[in-house]
């Protein structure tokens, strides 16, 4: 075993022990090359399929076999593990802030990492949607329905999950338009909407469990990809997807970790791994997992699955991520004030 893979194993072990992240260990059979992808919680299925596709492509292109190890967890926890020494080669996250922190805290990547790959380093994207009970008994169609007295919802905690933060920002974006920037009305709407939340789970999958298994709430607020996957997994029915006309543009940023690929000697492999995400084959695979993609051909193929809507980027709602975090989600921020009863 080389020093590097040993170091990586120890790193992975430490990361796993400290944060309960499911760090993956290298299988015994030796491949020519190895790569560690640190990813977000609900990306397991997507990346196990993608890794297989990429490995075949890599074999064809270079004649080398590659072992791709995955580590999944809440992406903030995952980023922490890397800052504290987990030598992951690439990150594939669902929050820009969790990649930014790798520059700010560890200086592991350059500040302009978003310029290195197309579409601001986000090979695919999604938005926030609603999952309601079959037949939509409460007739929930848009964000304003979430503030009705008779509606109770399940939302991942915006304090602990990017998923919840996105939904909060989506609702804020809707309110800014609907109330024409009237601060008092916007606040009142958000306050009522948050007051209708029955359970704040710490992560997206937890919220799904609460809504599906425990039968809590009239509506689950989460990623469009997640609600579509739930419907696909429950062929006997019971649920229905509602995509509001205005929602948030949720990006899924990826980048290679300069410091780590240098040490691991995997720079070329890591770059190819991420660039391949933008190819037509990969985009088709990703769209199959209900994420929206940029490739025009694939877009046309999946047009019926992804209704056209107005997607608001973070810049339009809150300026930029840094402002959004400090104004809305920081201790004592807007969210803390709105959630006070």
């Amino acid at each position: 075993m080389t020093d590097r893979s040993l170091g990586k194993r120890i790193g992975a072990l430490a990361g796993g022990l400290l944060f309960g992240a499911s760090a993956a260990f290298a299988p015994v059979q030796a491949a020519d090359q190895e790569l560690l992808n640190s990813s977000y919680d609900i990306a397991r299925e997507l990346f196990s399929a993608y890794n297989q596709q990429f490995a075949e492509h890599w074999k064809e292109k270079t004649g080398k076999t590659v072992d791709i190890n995955q580590s999944h967890g809440g992406s903030s926890k995952q980023a922490q593990a890397i800052i504290q020494g987990l030598r992951a080669d690439v990150v594939t996250y669902n929050q820009v802030t969790d990649v930014d922190i790798l520059h700010e805290r560890g200086n592991l990547i350059p500040e302009d990492w978003r310029q290195r790959l197309p579409n601001a380093s986000s090979p695919y994207y999604s938005t926030m949607a609603f999952l309601v009970r079959e037949g939509n008994p409460k007739n929930i169609q848009n964000w304003d329905d979430l503030a009705r007295d008779d509606v109770s919802s399940v939302l991942p905690n915006p304090k602990t999950s990017g998923n919840g933060r996105y939904t909060y920002l989506a609702a804020l974006g809707y309110a800014q338009k609907a109330f024409d920037g009237d601060e008092a009305k916007i606040d009142q709407f958000l306050k009522t909407m948050l007051g209708n939340v029955a359970v704040y789970d710490t992560g997206g999958r937890g919220a799904t469990t609460t809504f599906i298994e425990r039968g809590i709430g009239d509506v689950l607020l989460t990623f469009e990809s997640e609600v579509n996957n739930i419907v696909a997994q429950n062929p006997e029915g019971g649920y229905q997807v509602v995509v509001p006309k205005t929602s948030f543009l949720a990006e899924f940023p990826v980048t290679w970790i300069d410091r780590n690929v240098e040490r691991n000697g995997t720079e070329e492999l890591a770059k190819s791994y991420l660039e391949y995400l933008y190819t037509e084959e990969a985009q088709r695979l990703i769209a199959g997992f209900n994420y929206r993609v940029h490739n025009e051909t694939v877009k046309a193929e999946f047009a019926d699955r992804f209704p056209e809507l107005e997607l608001l980027p973070i810049e339009e709602i809150a300026g930029d991520w840094e402002t959004a975090m400090s104004v809305h989600f920081a201790p004592g921020g807007k969210l803390d004030q709105l959630q006070r009863r």
Partner: protein, 286 residues
Amino acid sequence: MDKIMTGAPPKGGRAKRVLPGFSLSLGISLLFISLVLLLPVTGLIVQTSGMSLAEYWAVITDERVMASYKVTLWAAAIASVINGVVGLLMAWVLVRYDFWGKRLVDALMDLPFALPTAVAGITLAALFAENGWYGQYLAELGIKVAYTPLGIIVAMSFTSLPFVVRTVQPVLEDLAPEDEEAAMSMGASDLTVFRRIIFPALWPALMTGVALSFTRSLGEFGAVIFIAGNTPYVSEITSLMIFVRLQEFDYAAASAIASVVLMASLVLLLGINLWQARYLKRLHGR
């Protein structure tokens, strides 16, 4: 009560220890304590040392955090009192009676320790949700457990019950039946025997068990988080507040809140130890 011969070293001159290996075993123990206990605690203090006193104070007295102390303290207090009563009863049953399957019940007692707390939390949430096995009947009575502060109490008492059982059990086993028999032969009623003979002997162990159960509950995260509902200002526990600060990469603030929990636990445990020492001294007359 029989007097125990204490192995006090002879006065004057160097005490000769009968048991060999003292310095080696003490050395290893101290090293281990330092590495596993003191170092992380030092780390905690170092993390917070970057903050000014005002910042520290602002973090630990944040309104939402204050609400979480209240929820956590109340829930832990109620959970540990429940455990005190139930745990004593369980220890009593396990020590004093012989029944079929006793070994199994005895082993089951440790299940909350063995079970990953997240699994416990998810299972409890499933049971107590309104469509769960227990929850559906409780719902008919108008009682909601899952996703309310009541759920926090259930999760806390589940994970910390063994503390009471396992601290009371050995003391109860050591309790000589002669004392009870003597009391009975002098005409004491069952209640008097329990109140005057058994309970005073069990009291310190029971208090320790309850205190351990309480401090364990203060820090519980995995089990509680899945059943609490985590409604801000209503059912958010302090561990969640720490978790939130970590998510924000604010290690200093996380450590600051953690230090409050740590201090509360330390003061309580130290208090119990001191009280217990005095109590035992009075009980045994030495």
